[in-house]
């Protein structure tokens, strides 16, 4: 692909005026703005990621998470058993912090760390939504606190990597849609859901700022 001057030079070296007018026309009326560029890029990359993840990666993901799940299970079972242990490890439970520590540590060992981090961010927001919906203030607070830590780590790890930032953005945006559609008839639940929404929106704004800082494109 060539830039405009090469193209025009190839045609007629004497026609600077026509070159100028065509360039002005293309620049003013035909070029995408940066938001359109970002929207298109995000959609295309998300499509590619979904297609890639559909078949072989499903298996790869399961393999990647198997040690995480195994060690988390070991951690939980070391302290308690059965339903008691599961409840203890749920958001707000006494083992929740232990579970987060185990999961976060193991994410650092995952083969695809950005994807694993995005999955943890998704999980924390999901736990916050569940706890908020159940009117479990302690659980929502614990999950949102863990979310703050993990989303900050995920954004930092994805800095300057557009594909990873866009994936993280898509994960959070999907959870945000879910949060916005939740039943808010209970004031207690509504308040926690609103907190979760605010945090998710703040994360999206931070990611958008990073994407913008990367620039819309590097087209020749």
């Amino acid at each position: 692909m060539m830039d405009g001057s090469e193209v025009m030079g190839d045609i007629d070296r004497d026609d600077g005026e026509l070159e100028r007018r065509l360039r002005a026309y293309a620049g003013a009326r035909l070029s995408p703005d940066q938001w359109a560029s970002l929207r298109m890029r995000a959609a295309v990359i998300e499509h590619g990621r979904a297609a890639r993840d559909e078949a072989p990666t499903t298996r790869r993901w399961r393999l990647a998470w198997r040690p995480v799940l195994f060690v988390a299970l070991v951690g939980v079972l070391a302290v308690g058993t059965g339903t008691t242990a599961a409840l203890a490890a749920s958001a707000g439970g006494p083992l929740y912090g232990t579970r987060i520590w185990v999961e976060t540590t193991l994410v650092s060992l995952a083969g695809n760390r950005p994807d694993a981090q995005a999955a943890l961010v998704d999980q924390r927001l999901g736990e916050a939504a569940d706890a908020a919906g159940a009117g479990n203030d302690a659980g929502a607070n614990a999950a949102l606190s863990a979310y703050d830590t993990e989303v900050a780590a995920a954004i930092a790890a994805s800095a300057e990597n557009r594909a990873n930032l866009e994936h993280l953005r898509a994960v959070i945006a999907k959870r945000l849609d879910h949060l916005q559609g939740m039943d808010k008839s209970s004031p207690k639940a509504a308040a926690q859901i609103a907190r979760a929404i605010a945090k998710a929106e703040a994360s999206l704004a931070e990611i958008d700022a990073q994407l913008e800082a990367l620039g819309p494109d590097a087209s020749p």
Binding site: D10, I11, D15, S37, A218
Partner: protein, 205 residues
């Protein structure tokens, strides 16, 4: 981005490297968008179609083999076919005048008005070209393709592209009142009359 870099990114993307495909998107999306919007007119359609072009490219990339075909030409052939399918489906007249009218510069009202008039004149002049001439102008000037890439995209010979382009340039000069320079004997490849009138391509698209 040079050809070697593009080739390397294409090879990486063929292996499933999405980051490499993202770089290819960054390099080409504005050019594809400019070509598409110049053909379909409506920016919202152009955005959807540009996305579709890259989704198709992503899916078709494992089957792409360079073999002397420039990647840009291959990509723009996808873009061209996508536009053709869209126009056929919608059965709407493609109107360049409908293209987006964005404010262009932080200039005074008189300068803005003058610029708007000038851009309107270019838009009108483009509508006076044949379909083929307009497509060549879009591929070469708005998308920035080489004559060879444009030839691949349109499924024509490179000489035909240069001939169409030469005639289009002459027509644009006349429409815009830019002094017409008499053609040199060697400038612009001769094309047959069917091509010059914008007859359907004889080669595959």
């Amino acid at each position: 981005m040079d050809d070697a870099t593009i080739d390397r990114l294409v090879e990486q993307a063929r292996q499933g490297d999405l980051q490499a495909f993202g770089s290819i998107f960054d390099a080409y999306h504005a050019a594809v968008y400019r070509f598409v919007v110049s053909r379909v007119g409506r920016p919202s359609d152009a955005e959807d179609l540009t996305q579709l072009v890259f989704v198709k490219a992503l899916e078709a990339l494992p089957r792409y083999k360079a073999r002397g075909v420039p990647f840009g030409g291959w990509l723009f052939r996808l873009a061209r076919n996508t536009v053709i399918d869209h126009v056929r489906t919608r059965r709407e007249h493609v109107d360049l005048e409908a293209a987006t009218h964005r404010a262009t510069e932080d200039a005074g009202p008189e300068a803005v008005a003058a610029l708007r008039d000038e851009l309107d004149a270019v838009a009108r002049a483009l509508t006076e070209l044949t379909e083929d001439q307009r497509e060549v102008i879009a591929l070469r000037f708005f998308a920035g393709l080489s004559a060879r890439e444009a030839a691949v995209a349109m499924g024509r010979q490179e000489g035909t592209i240069r001939g169409l382009q030469f005639r289009a340039i002459g027509a644009l000069r006349r429409s815009l009142g830019i002094e017409v320079i008499e053609p040199d004997a060697g400038r612009g490849d001769p094309v047959d009359d069917d091509e010059a009138r914008g007859a359907p391509s004889k080669a595959q698209a």
